[in-house]
Subunit: 154 residues, 2 copies
């Protein structure tokens, strides 16, 4: 009769609504911070990704969870602005590795600084509260050892 016990729980519903608000606000601020550097959200995400590590086009698509054909245009536009460059892969000539340029890394750093969300609001929480929040979010995301998500093949 109650396959999902949490479904009709008003407290759970409240938390779900709050998470929705967090998601909305996060997105809003992310797009805003990106726009300040004349970047779209997708461009900002790819640039941030490439700042962490040079990545083949196909793998960018996997991380963005979109089709590989879309990545071509996004990287094109970043490359046209000198924020990213395509490099050949020494081992496989089919592969093009996209990498952030020096300018791209600088832009990404400014972008990161502009992303005040969660940093400013989090300042209102004590150290203990922040670590409680961290633990709760970790458990929500199933990132705890001992609770391996099905679907992880390796």
């Amino acid at each position: 009769m109650t396959p999902t016990p949490a479904r009709s729980d008003p407290l759970t519903h409240e938390v779900v609504e709050l998470i929705g608000s967090v998601v909305a606000r996060y997105h809003e601020e992310y797009e805003l911070a990106a726009a300040e550097h004349a970047l779209t959200g997708a461009q900002a995400r790819v640039l941030t990704l490439l700042t962490r590590e040079p990545t083949p086009m196909r793998q960018i698509a996997r991380q963005l969870k979109c089709e590989p054909s879309n990545v071509t245009g996004i990287v094109d536009r970043l490359e046209a602005r000198g924020l990213v460059e395509r490099r050949p892969d020494p081992g496989d000539r089919r592969i093009k590795v996209a990498a952030a340029t020096e300018r791209g890394r600088a832009t990404a750093a400014y972008l990161r600084e502009g992303l005040d969300f969660a940093r400013e609001p989090l300042a209102g929480l004590t150290q203990l509260e922040r670590s409680m929040l961290r633990d709760l979010l970790q458990r929500m995301l199933g990132e705890e050892p001992g609770a391996p998500e099905p679907g992880e093949t390796s």
Copy 2:
């Protein structure tokens, strides 16, 4: 020297990253649930909005934080599928009030059921933990009385 104390705090950084993960996963599941009903994310958001309350076009734009001209197309497509209808406003003939139809409400209900995120993961938390999470998120969002965010004009 340290205008934003939380900036270099590794714990805060960790929480920010976790929130990023929550946002990514929420969006992913939202788009997926919408796609199961042949809806785009924007269409699903508007439909959900109108299920709660019939709303003038202009006000939809404000809630979506987009330009009013965009709403025309989104409501057009929902109306073409019989999920939404435009009604005149008795008091002001300039205004068109968009409202969910019976079919629209039914679709929104299915959509809501498909949105497992946060409900399933939250089931792994105790009642106490969930209320702790609620309180922490509320304070992050500045929704608590006694902590009015600057910028609120009224």
